[in-house]
């Protein structure tokens, strides 16, 4: 059994027109037993930057706490928020530092950079960055997510259409994965607002 299959997770981030969406499932399990159906995998780093962590939940929490700490120090020193590209480099460096004893996490980073240009990125557990212009996926349902996103994605979607696409891709993929599901949590971020929605999905 792979360590990533211990807790189960599904994460996806997609780029739209001057906006982005990041979505996750809500299950927390211990192998095949479900212990929570409202687990938060996506956290806010600052108003325009979100981080989703898939994989082993304990490493995800530790990594999140370390990253928030580093970002707060950055904010104190630089008196501004971190750009998404800079944050991605920081996460990559922190993960690569543990190259020979890694954190069992795959982060998905999504943010609005300069001039409200959306930025998404994912990494493997040792920090190899993958910058995509359309969508990125992570978690146990990643193979289904790749297929669903590849066919459903369109360029330059408006926020409402982007929300529909991301939700459909997420729900259809987690339905084919035993270890993730129990609803969905979608954040759609535009330069003026953040819309957080909880989806109704199959509870099995």
């Amino acid at each position: 059994m792979s360590i990533f299959e211990y807790n189960g997770s599904a994460l996806v981030a997609m780029v739209g027109k001057n906006c982005f969406a990041i979505a996750s499932d809500r299950r927390l399990g211990v192998q095949l037993q479900t212990i929570a159906t409202d687990f938060q995998r996506i956290s806010k780093i600052h108003d325009r930057l979100f981080l989703g962590l898939s994989g082993l939940a304990t490493d995800a929490q530790t990594l999140y706490q370390r990253l928030v700490f580093r970002h707060k120090l950055y904010q104190l020193r630089e008196e501004r928020d971190m750009k998404p590209e800079t944050f991605a480099n920081l996460v990559s460096a922190i993960l690569y530092e543990k190259r020979f004893g890694p954190y069992f996490c795959q982060p998905v980073i999504a943010g609005l950079g300069d001039e409200d240009k959306p930025f998404i990125c994912t990494m493997d557990s040792i920090g190899a960055k993958e910058l995509a212009k359309d969508f990125v996926v992570a978690g146990t349902a990643s193979e289904s997510l790749y297929g669903a996103c590849e066919s459903m994605f369109k360029d330059d979607m408006e926020p409402e259409e982007l929300f529909e696409t991301v939700s459909q891709a997420l729900l259809s993929s987690v339905d084919r994965d035993c270890l993730s599901g129990w609803g969905g949590h979608v954040y759609v971020v535009t330069p003026t607002e953040v819309k957080e929605r909880i989806l109704k999905g199959r509870m099995d």
Partner: protein, 273 residues
């Protein structure tokens, strides 16, 4: 007990904190994760005016393609570029690290970097980690002593060659080079040959795919041709796309308006004493 209460940013290098825990998990039957590799076909050749490097653009995670258009030709110095195969995190980290060391060295000496300097820095690092940093590199550049092309293996051994291939598609690419390479190629002939070799890797090796990236380095100039050839376009997308008439069921919506960014214009009234 030796750890201080405040976690200071580390001084650099690897940290082996979690190794014991990961070993314990492995003993309990939990297999370690697979890392992103760059299956890859990477090539380099020396032509009459300099060096041409080529690479495919597929990144794999096991049997799945995780990135259809990644960049495998890394910048080392204005006159030196390096293609990387093997574990993606290792190639990126090692090339970034040596690129920074070369920049510091340039500041220190005030001279253009030499290819052998990059070569030595890379091979020392890789040998130090005895092959565990899994990066196989093709390093090429033009400096004051002329054009150079080297290959570096994960254990730290190097070769100096007129044409070189590395990665899972190296046999396919080498077959093309061995039959068609000759000394004194012109720029266009060289680009054509490199493209052919990479295409041979893309079509015959399962670990390589997507597009061809080329980098031409000559004395005093470099040309990075990103996606020089795209022999695998996506032709099957339907123009209509997906539409979802029946909307997704939402249980809860929370809207957080973002703060208006207040523009502070300097040059207001002077402060009263």
């Amino acid at each position: 007990m030796s750890k201080s209460v405040i976690e200071m940013p580390p001084k650099g290098g690897f940290s082996f904190d979690l190794c014991k825990r990961n070993e314990m998990l492995a003993k309990k039957g939990v297999s370690p994760p697979s890392f992103r590799k760059t299956g890859t076909t990477i090539v380099g050749l020396i032509f009459q005016d300099g060096v041409i490097l080529g690479a495919d653009t597929r990144a794999t995670e096991g049997p799945i393609v995780c990135d259809k258009n990644c960049e495998k030709i890394h910048y080392m110095a204005p006159n030196i570029y390096c293609c990387g195969a093997g574990t993606a995190a290792d190639t990126e980290a090692v090339t970034d690290m040596v690129s920074s060391q070369l920049q510091l060295h340039r500041y220190h000496t005030g001279r253009e970097s030499r290819v052998v300097t990059a070569l030595t820095l890379l091979k020392r690092h890789l040998f130090n980690y005895q092959g565990y940093v899994s990066a196989a590199l093709v390093l090429g550049g033009v400096d004051v002593t002329g054009p150079h092309l080297h290959t570096i293996y994960p254990h730290g051994s190097t070769d100096t060659l007129p044409f070189a291939t590395m990665g899972s598609g190296s046999l396919a690419a080498m077959a093309v080079f061995e039959s068609k390479y000759k000394e004194g190629l012109t720029r266009d002939e060289g680009i054509k040959l490199v493209t052919e070799a990479i295409c041979s890797g893309i079509f015959n090796d399962l670990g390589s795919g997507s597009n061809v990236d080329i980098c031409v380095i000559t004395k005093g100039a470099k040309e990075y041709l990103r996606n020089h050839l795209q022999p695998n376009p996506r032709t099957y997308t339907s123009s209509k796309g997906y539409s979802f008439p029946k909307k997704t069921e939402v249980l809860l919506t929370k809207i957080t308006p973002l703060k208006e960014k207040v523009e502070i214009i300097e040059g207001g009234d002077a402060m009263e004493e």
